[in-house]
Symmetry: C2
């Protein structure tokens, strides 16, 4: 099977961070190049100071920084590659970031970002919420990188070599890393020992934050799980819900917008069926690499689908740069080009190009559109492809009726075969539910599940309170973990409200922690 | 290093089930031979019906059985060897027992014994409590065997071959087995799906029951953790407490009893130092294998120490056969021979022999005392030795002042070196605390921790209520998980009270489960 020939396969490989377009074993992990333009604080110049230290933790604050993202960048001393077996004692360096500008030893707290499938610096830069609340919570900020992503590669450049090297890439191992890291920080940072730790994360990182509180409640007093689709597994939610939400975003962002997209697939098929269709399509869509055959046409449709999905995730109310540099409310901008579904096929495709161009060329720098790139290289596509092929089996499907995509059913068997060919492993689709409880999680406490109605991942999220302490916060105008982003003048009131509720819960957890500490002594 | 040269090493290998005397890699796992004499129901003739089935679950009840222990003995369909990695999909057959005589599909429950370090049939036979309460709770009984014990060997006869084969012997894998088994039973037994499951276990099995509730609260509504020393790790409790409790048992069971034992060590040393000391000791103690050198003398003292420990664990109020056939209150019987610490060394050692003979020869069948056997072969000494060398690092020490033993400090380094030589692994002494929370477990719910004051493992147990739903039950006259044994006419009132409280809590959990189920629909 060639490069993501089937939408269903593409969908199966979706990461909550972004659609992962590149097939495994093709592209090596890109190095991260930071740009000062990549910021969630549009009004603040961010200055970085990056340190690499091994084995030892320095906490000397660096003076003169404006709201610096990174005060300290460090490696966990000897993180075990395998927490769940004893045949190997091999360790690796796990990267994490610390910022302690507002941290108070007296009555302070520790906000711990449970890193997800990408470079931790990128998540740090896109989690302004933690920076915004640090002073109020007297908090030390810790951003822990997830193993097999960023610089935290257990086997260096061999980490993705085969299923033997990948065997330690699981959510359980990642949670164990976080647990050991918290114990290490508490042991080595004077004043940290008797402080409450709160887990925070977005997307897969939000799942990890929630699961971390479920499995290690002795280490974190609570968790903020933003846009965490913990129910997008097994048959807990219908597999169609994800793409239905994507479709709704377009339907609501402009008249006939979703209908234009729905019709575009057949238009592509018809044009591709003509003798001169492929060169015409390649030219009209300004593709960097011309289409050559039917398989390329499928890839084209997959790539366009991914683009619509990504736009739905990052439909933020202000100019931003999460997956790509984008204008405010980018779907509205896209939909300005997609108003009339009754135009001719060539006209419709010309309009589709204009719409795509919003996503791929907002800066105006692109000379052509590259089908092999749909989002930031800070996300680790290799690692996620493996995780999707093992634990993170999140069924997604389309029917073309409730959504604007071509119909594709969820085919576990096909997916399993693909995974076996790619990685030599087969998914265990029910394991996450067995391990983390699925819908039956009411015995846990102190988890905030926040979801934005615009975010397709909200379909697999917790959107109703489960108990008094397992609470859902809805952000009607919110896309993917908007609440974790820095305060912005264009933020809708609902996200401000969400953040203030989140802070209120976190303060309550911190108060409860200190109250029970006082009771102890 | 020869056979358990140092008491500290012996102590490190103690299993909550019984002291494990045999060094690893020497003795293969014995086959289990069931005897109708091995029963916790002295007044009831037990009849077994043993089935082996693979892949499929039969629930046909066998008629005409009197309180049968085993109605069905089955194998879990394809239990994964490694739940926490995807490099292998290898499976093994996990054994479990089912008894459904009193089970009701309407309003019933499932009592799930979380098997520990031994043959599950032996645990089944020694957990009469579950049988006694089955009717009242309309309960199906399930006894799940722990991997690497009994017949549940992931690699058959190679299971203990090396650290590679042993790599999957951890508490986490065992809990995952239990989780998968419960899901399998609920899926395949009509009527089981919407029933509450309660985890029960004693000793290490009690730890597993508690940890199972902590980590998988979506699968079990509560846990009865009997004599579970979940705090005998790291430095949570002083390492001396275990042997202090052993000593107290002897001090309270007869005047000067513990003092006689305290003096016996020097007496042995003095006699062994004489030219004819070794043959004299061998003959006086009726040893099957004569002592040959100084190392054997250390082994002798270790063996005697183990015997005193084992007696403390099984100091039951009635004739029983858990580790060995024994009279009621065996320590009292032992202490009848140990009244005068001021006698000569030879006389003291002759008395020690009489005392040992109570433990090793209550049936009068033994022609000599065998230093290589201290308890039932139903316990898996190889497996536990590995577990003690990896996760289950339970520090035990003596000082000869607060206890009646020769002083031995806890030496992690020495122990680690021993483990490396024996198994090619090194212990991670803090991992259990990191994973399961140590003393910081108050966010969990619905766990009963029961402990007997006579039981040396109670020193590492939870003996005070932590919250309203994490409760401690103390049985002043109880030895090791006496409450899990069948009702007996000679039971002290305190254990009857403990059992009735346990039933009350379990009924409450079952009521709560059905109430929340009704609320759902």
């Amino acid at each position: 099977m060639g490069r993501h020939t089937f939408l269903s396969l593409l969908l199966a490989l979706l990461t909550p961070g972004a659609a992962i377009p590149v097939p495994p074993a093709v592209r090596a992990l890109n190095n991260l190049h930071l740009s000062t333009g990549f910021t969630s604080h549009p009004s603040i110049v961010m200055e970085y100071s990056i340190h690499y230290i091994q084995q030892k933790l320095f906490l000397s604050a660096l003076a003169g920084h404006l709201h610096s993202c990174i005060i300290l960048l460090s490696h966990q001393k000897a993180a075990l590659v395998d927490h769940f077996g004893f045949n190997t004692d091999k360790t690796f360096n796990q990267r994490y970031l610390i910022a302690n500008k507002h941290w108070k030893k007296d009555g302070g707290s520790i906000l711990f970002y449970t890193g997800n499938e990408g470079d931790i610096i990128w998540f740090c830069n896109n989690t302004g919420f933690m920076w915004d609340v640090a002073e109020e919570l007297k908090a030390m900020l810790v951003f822990a990188e997830h193993r097999y992503y960023g610089k935290s590669l257990p086997f260096g450049s061999n980490s993705f070599k085969d299923s033997r090297h990948l065997n330690f890439l699981t959510s359980e191992q990642a949670l164990a890393d976080f647990a050991e890291l918290i114990k290490y920080l508490k042991r080595t940072i004077p004043g940290a020992e008797n402080q409450p730790v709160i887990a925070l994360g977005g997307s897969y990182g939000g799942m990890l934050a929630a699961w971390f509180r479920m499995k290690f409640p002795h280490l974190v007093v609570g968790a903020l799980a933003a846009s965490a689709p913990i129910w997008q597994f097994d048959d807990i939610v219908p597999c169609g819900v994800f793409m239905e939400i994507v479709t709704t975003d377009y339907r609501k962002s402009g008249p006939n917008c979703s209908e234009c997209i729905r019709r575009s697939w057949d238009a592509i098929n018809r044009i591709a069926g003509n003798g001169t269709g492929l060169p015409w399509l390649s030219e009209t869509l300004h593709l960097c690499t011309p289409l050559k055959n039917t398989q390329d046409v499928q890839s084209l449709k997959d790539w366009i689908s991914e683009t619509w999905i990504n736009l739905a995730m990052v439909d933020y109310p202000y100019e931003s740069n999460f997956l790509q540099p984008l204008p405010a409310w980018p779907i509205k901008v896209v939909c300005q080009y997609l108003k009339d579904p009754s135009v001719s096929d060539p006209q419709l495709l010309q309009n589709i190009f204009q719409a795509l161009n919003v996503y791929y060329n907002y800066t105006g720098q692109a000379r052509c559109l590259n089908m092999s790139e749909t989002s930031t290289s800070s996300l680790g596509s290799l690692g996620w492809s493996y995780q999707a092929c093992t634990e993170m089996v999140m069924p997604v499907c389309t029917n073309g009726i409730n959504d604007m995509f071509e119909p594709h059913s969820w085919d576990l068997e096909e997916f399993s075969d693909y995974c076996f060919r790619q990685w030599g492993v087969r998914p265990r689709p029910s394991w996450i539910t067995t391990l983390y409880g699925g819908k039956n999680i009411s015995s846990h406490t102190n988890i905030i599940f926040s979801n934005g109605d615009l975010d397709p991942w909200s379909g697999g999220g917790v959107t109703k309170d489960i108990t008094d302490t397992l609470v859902a916060i809805i952000i009607p105008e919110g896309a993917h973990h908007l609440d974790l982003r820095a305060n912005n003048a264009f933020d809708p009131t609902t996200v401000l409200l969400a953040r203030s509720m989140e802070v209120r819960y976190m303060k309550q957890w911190i108060r409860d922690f200190y109250a029970s500490l006082r009771k102890k002594y």
